[in-house]
């Protein structure tokens, strides 16, 4: 009899390595580490490349790196990735990801997209199913259900004269006063943290600003064409991805919807043990 140890494994001793990849003349910051099958991780609004600590895996990514070769590029505008001004629409992001995959030698790759990254991962899978072997969407934005109000993200994250990222934490985290939330979005940020966060917000706003924030109106009707096996994970307390949006995501023919209790939009930060679920799906049977 084999005993499977389901406890989270130890973090790899070495963190990711940072390098800059040139894609169509634009710099893309890529963090890479771990061993195993390649995994393309597209980050979220409040995630690696957006909040510190810089150049370290988040606990979720550290766990994934134990069994995957994790490649985590910074989306345009985030971290040191350049060329944001060239991105006008979803097509620009899709072609950017196509070029990036080619540059990184990725095809038929497992793609994990968190939040904003989940949106772009889906747009990629929709147009280039050959590039995406399996799709994991963690708290994906991108789908808007008319009549279901979502609090305006960019108003909640507007800076304050004197400290206080409380409004942003309450929007994004199930436990806004917990160590994870306070670590990601502290009331007083260092200059380095502010630069990373504000750069990322500009990256997010490039396509996400149009109200209601973060949506492609056409995506809902197109999701029926996403045939790759997909796992969609939604936090029950996610204020940015309401229950109705979760149901829309579940209309992808190959999708399974997993709802997590006590989880908000930043479930990837607050629930790193999800890595087991993600890994199990990526290596499991169809």
């Amino acid at each position: 009899m084999t005993v499977v140890d389901r406890r989270p494994g130890p973090r790899p001793r070495t963190g990711p390595t940072r390098r800059t990849v040139s894609v169509s003349g634009r710099d893309v910051t890529v963090l890479r580490g771990g061993t195993g099958m390649a995994l393309l991780y597209l980050h979220g609004l409040c995630d690696i490349h957006a909040v510190g600590p810089v150049d370290q895996w988040t606990p979720l990514l550290a766990r994934l790196a134990a069994s995957f070769d994790v490649l985590a590029p910074a989306l345009p505008g985030y971290d040191a990735s350049t060329g944001l001004e060239d991105f006008d629409d979803v097509e620009d992001y899709v072609w950017h990801l196509v070029d990036l995959c080619r540059e990184l030698g990725l095809a038929e790759v497992a793609v994990v997209g968190n939040s904003l990254g989940g949106w772009f991962a889906t747009e990629l899978a929709l147009r280039h199913p050959d590039l995406v072997a399996r799709l994991v969407l963690l708290a994906p934005v991108g789908v808007h259900v008319r009549g279901v109000e979502v609090p305006p993200f960019f108003g909640a994250v507007a800076p304050r004269g004197i400290g206080g990222a409380g409004e942003a934490r309450r929007l994004l985290f199930a436990d806004p006063d917990g160590a994870v939330a306070l670590g990601a979005l502290p009331d007083v940020m260092t200059t380095e943290q502010q630069l990373l966060w504000f750069s990322g917000l500009a990256g997010a706003a490039r396509l996400g600003w149009k109200a209601p924030h973060f949506q492609n109106r056409k995506l809902t009707e197109r999701l029926g064409r996403v045939a790759v096996p997909a796992l969609v994970v939604r936090g029950r307390d996610d204020l940015l991805v309401p229950e109705e949006a979760g149901r829309v995501w579940a209309t992808m023919p190959g999708a399974r919807l997993l709802e997590i209790p006590d989880a908000g939009h930043c479930l990837a930060l607050e629930h790193p043990a999800l890595a087991d679920e993600v890994a199990g799906f990526l290596v499991g049977p169809d």
Binding site: T191, S199, L201
Partner: protein, 390 residues
């Protein structure tokens, strides 16, 4: 054109995060609003009667700070209520208009209606405006500059012509009417000291109006020095009229009286009405509107300013931060310093600010217009002529 009926800063900020974007318009009382428009427009008309050179109106949206979402409407009224003064619209926020030829049209109307008295202010629009209109802030600046180019072409190129820009594509640009002033009305642009804005103004022959309501006066002095350097670098001749200072002015019989009378209304202006882009609460500064390093610096300065405000030093702080608040003699001397040392040629005096009531506004405006301006104007004309500046 402020809404003066909110609470003083401490009380206001205890209950509200800002006077912009989200402060409910249930706070606006249209009956009081009618009286306010009557009063503020009368004050602008009075400025002509007192001999000032021009009047200025500005554009803001969804806020208690400025009640002119369309300054052009007030300017249109002024074309009929005045006959001599320049009418400066400072300005229209070009990225908020699509297509921005709308601005070219309305400003041409104002120029023709006023008999060629328009000064055309063109602005990017404040941070809060991007939240209020949902216009994308991440390309606000390149969009603005292209829109300026389009507006100038619309005024100067015989139509119809096609405009094929990055942001705006129009097959037929051919606005009727055209402006009366040729080749086009003077263009002024307000700025907070960004080197690229200063260079842009100099290279295009636009006026640069330094805004310094919320910063110490040396901030404007730095902007003026940078302006001169840009003029020298461009090989152009300095034109004092194109270097302006937008600042609060209050004149009373003595310095002490001026500070004492102005202080609570300045505090309301800076503490209550400006809450939303400066101050301890929410700062409606959208992502990508300025570069991240500039935003970090802006917030650091802001915290320094907010934390530096100690109530016991209020009078001294007013004095230090608003040098044009004082007796006629003091304000004259200080203005002369700016004229002599910085070549300041245009003063956009904010004579009504915050909750400053009608009687104090009228008295201060009269003192400024009769006991400060003629003296400074005469001196400046001689000084500029001696320098060879026209």
């Amino acid at each position: 054109m402020p809404w003066p009926h909110l609470a003083a800063p401490r009380e206001f900020l205890a209950a509200n995060e800002a006077a912009w974007v989200t402060l409910s318009n249930a706070n606006y009382d249209p009956a009081l609003g009618k009286a306010l428009y009557d009063r503020y427009i009368s004050e602008l008309v009075e400025a002509e009667e007192l001999g000032l050179d021009g009047v200025v109106v500005n554009e803001h949206h969804q806020n208690a700070y400025g009640l002119m979402p369309s300054p052009n409407l007030v300017a249109a009224a002024l074309t009929r209520e005045t006959s001599r003064v320049k009418i400066c619209v400072l300005g229209n926020a070009l990225p908020l208009y699509n297509p921005p030829t709308r601005v070219a049209e309305e400003m041409a109307m104002l120029d023709v209606m006023s008999g060629g008295r328009l000064i055309a202010g063109l602005v990017v629009g404040g941070g809060p405006e991007y939240y209020s209109t949902n216009v994308n802030p991440t390309d606000a600046r390149p969009r603005f500059r292209e829109a300026v180019d389009l507006v100038i072409q619309a005024w100067t190129r015989p139509g119809p012509f096609a405009f094929d820009g990055e942001f705006y594509q129009l097959p037929y640009v051919n606005p009727w009417p055209r402006p009366l002033q040729q080749p086009h009305p003077p263009v002024w642009i307000p700025g907070l000291g960004s080197p690229s804005t200063i260079t842009y103004c100099v290279e295009h022959g636009f006026g640069y109006m330094g805004v310094a309501y919320y910063a110490p006066p040396e901030t404007f002095a730095r902007q003026a020095v940078a302006y001169h350097e840009a003029v020298t670098a461009s090989g152009r001749t300095f034109d004092p009229e194109l270097l302006g200072w937008l600042t609060t002015v209050y004149v009373a019989e003595t310095d002490e009286q001026a500070v004492e009378e102005a202080a609570p209304h300045l505090a309301y202006f800076q503490g209550t009405l400006a809450a939303g882009f400066v101050g301890p609460g929410k700062v409606w500064m959208p992502p990508g509107y300025i570069d991240p390093p500039a935003l970090v610096q802006f917030l650091a300065d802001l915290r320094g300013m907010v934390q530096g405000q100690r109530p016991p030093d209020a009078a001294a702080a007013v004095w230090k931060r608003s040098p044009l608040i004082g007796s006629p003699k003091t304000v004259r001397e200080r203005l002369l310093t700016y004229v002599n040392e910085l070549g300041l040629g245009t003063v956009l005096a904010l004579l009504q600010f915050g909750s400053l009531p009608a009687d104090l506004t009228a008295r201060s405006t009269r003192l400024y217009a009769t006991e400060v301006v003629p003296f400074v104007r005469e001196h400046a004309e001689k000084h500029f002529a001696a320098k060879g500046w026209e």
